[in-house]
Amino acid sequence: MSRRKFINAAMGTTVGIGGLSLLSIIGAVKPADTLTPEKTLPAPGDVLVYADPAKNGAPVALSDIKEGQVVYAFPKGKIKGVDVVKSGVTRNQVIIAKFPESALKAPTDLKGTDQGIVVYSRQCMHLGCAVEIKAYPSKNLQEAAVCPCHGGVYDLTQGARVVDGPPPAPLAQLPIKVQGSQVVVDGFFQSLPYDITEAEFETQKKEFEKA
């Protein structure tokens, strides 16, 4: 072996091993994904409570849910026997809207509505901003979910179908029923909400069904 060959080989080996060892830092950049109780999905039996911090997590009163006036809420449920307001992720904030029952049309999951009350995740499916509720005259909507970020518009009477703008999917509907004076979750999101993979969604669902 010539001296040049030896030095080249030695250099190549050290660069290779050294370089590979430096790659190990990449393993540290992505922290483990831990699911805290506040970040779990709304589950059947959860009670919807006011998202407004001033209301201190009180259950949403039926009298506050009127046509033309929405209420923002978080699901509150028991995780391992402890009451938890699931406000840890934006997708769990939901819009409670009320329409005349005849106004609600497919693809809304009508079984998941009660007395014309329909509930959707408030997080836009495009890039995850929280949507606002306002009139959208150019599409003849009195009460539409409009994303302030890139103009996604959802029709709340038709399963939050996308009527304008870029969102790739409708807002996820959360089935509910009215129990006494409370709004109670009656199932899981009917479609994938923002920022959760199908696998994660299914795992969490199974976790709840076991419990």
Binding site: K30, H126, L127, P148
Partner: protein
């Protein structure tokens, strides 16, 4: 002292080799300098801001209202605002960032329209493009740091765009921002802070150094008047000492103007947006230099999605990454279209190259259309006109520019003929 230093550091050689180098003087040649000065102002004010800023999403009692729990980053911004000249410091930093982006874009336009990217300066064009991109990324990470609701929404959108990359998006976003996007993600703000004050400025400084050294090595392009004075000779004034006072004056004038702006026009008043929360921000818009991407994101319809080898390609990926990458590739490709073998000495007159001029005008017309599309949502405009304008506006501006250049040329030619005629008449 000079002699003492010279004996140890051989200063006179540095002086002869670098500091006496002559640089041309022309009013459009200062745009790059302004970019550099803004960077210096940003580094100086940034150091002071970093001394008082706390990169954390941990909830603490608000600096102004102890009963309210807000993220520590937000609270520290309130504290900086309260410090003597603290708000000024933030405003100067923010205005300088705007100025740096603006000056670098104008600088790039000057290089493009005068053909200064041509051989041998292609490398510096590419480095300049990288500088522009890194500058913009630095700016975005910067206005995410206060962690007010505007910053949080911006960050959410940025994370969403990274996440939308097919196949690796989820991993990429979690690696870059320390896990999933959440209000209380403890890693996120320290990550962005690290990028903003260490990684990106280091890249910026390195690239700036390379940009300047290459410019010195290749020599600055000469203005047209230099051709008449001394053909293929360098016409200009030496860096030391004649160019130095000009540069200093420019730097201080710029600093003065930035400080005037900062004194009278507030930027990013965090109290208006409130601390990061789940509530939406009405009429949210990115800074002006990203408005075109924002517009594109609004224009790409919901139906623009398909699956490719198990990866999901959606409107957010197309609008946020694909279009931006294409635009950047077009810009990077500029020197490739020029096939001249000769080295360029003189800045060219833009009207001597009508096609290049028109292509540049068309390019900026397109960005303008997309930027206006960013306001589509506020006025509930339909999307169709913007799609039509996306094709029509660049085409129209291309041909109008060429027509105007031709018009000017024919006027000039007519003038010339007139003058010759008169001169001939006077001879008689």
């Amino acid at each position: 002292m000079n002699q003492w230093l010279d004996e140890r550091l051989n200063i006179s050689r540095l002086n002869d080799k670098f500091l006496r180098k002559a640089f041309p003087v022309h009013h459009t040649y200062f745009l790059g300098e302004i970019t550099l000065f803004s960077l210096i102002v940003l580094l100086l004010t940034g150091v002071f801001l970093a001394l008082s800023y706390e990169p954390s999403t941990r909830l603490v009692p608000s600096f102004l209202d102890k009963t309210q729990m807000v993220p520590a980053a937000y609270s520290s911004i309130l504290r900086i605002n309260w410090m003597p000249f603290g708000d000024m410091l933030r405003r100067i930093h923010h205005w300088s960032a705007n100025l740096m982006v603006a000056a670098s874009i104008l600088h790039m336009m000057r290089i493009y329209f005068t053909g200064s990217f041509k051989k041998p300066r292609e490398l510096n064009w590419w480095i300049g493009m990288l500088l522009l991109v890194v500058t913009i990324i630095t700016a975005v990470t910067g206005y995410s740091l206060p962690y007010d609701n505007f910053a949080k929404t911006t960050l959410g959108v940025v994370v969403g765009i990274v996440q939308s990359v097919p196949w690796v998006g989820d991993w990429l976003a979690q690696a870059a921002f320390g896990g999933k996007f959440a209000l209380d993600n403890a890693y996120m703000i320290p990550r962005v802070y690290g990028y903003h004050i260490m990684l990106l400025p280091a890249i910026l400084l390195g690239l700036t150094g390379a940009h300047l050294l290459i410019m010195i090595k290749q020599k600055h392009t000469q203005p047209q008047y230099a051709k008449r004075i001394a053909y293929k000779k360098i016409v200009g004034v030496p860096l030391s000492t004649q160019q130095t006072p000009i540069a200093l004056m420019l730097a201080f004038l710029m600093a003065g103007i930035v400080i005037l702006f900062a004194a009278f026009i507030p930027v990013h008043p965090v109290e208006v947006f409130g601390p990061a929360s789940d509530n939406p921000v009405a009429n949210i818009k990115p800074d002006w230099y990203l408005l075109w991407i924002f517009g594109v994101l609004e224009m790409i319809p919901a139906s623009a999605k398909f699956e490719l080898f198990g990866g999901e390609i959606g409107p957010e990926f197309i609008g946020g990454i694909v279009v931006a990458t294409l635009v950047l590739l077009v810009m990077l490709a500029v020197p490739v279209f020029d096939q001249s073998k000769e080295n360029l000495y003189y800045s060219e007159n833009p009207t001597d190259h009508p096609k290049r001029l028109a292509a540049g005008v068309a390019f900026f017309a397109l960005l303008l259309v997309w930027s206006v599309a960013g306001y589509k949502n506020d006025f509930q405009w339909p999307v169709a006109p913007f799609w039509i304008l996306t094709f029509v506006a660049p085409a129209v501006s291309y041909f109008v520019t060429i027509a105007i250049v031709r018009g000017i040329k024919s006027f000039k030619a007519a003038d010339e003929r007139d003058r010759e005629l008169h001169a001939a008449a006077a001879d008689d």
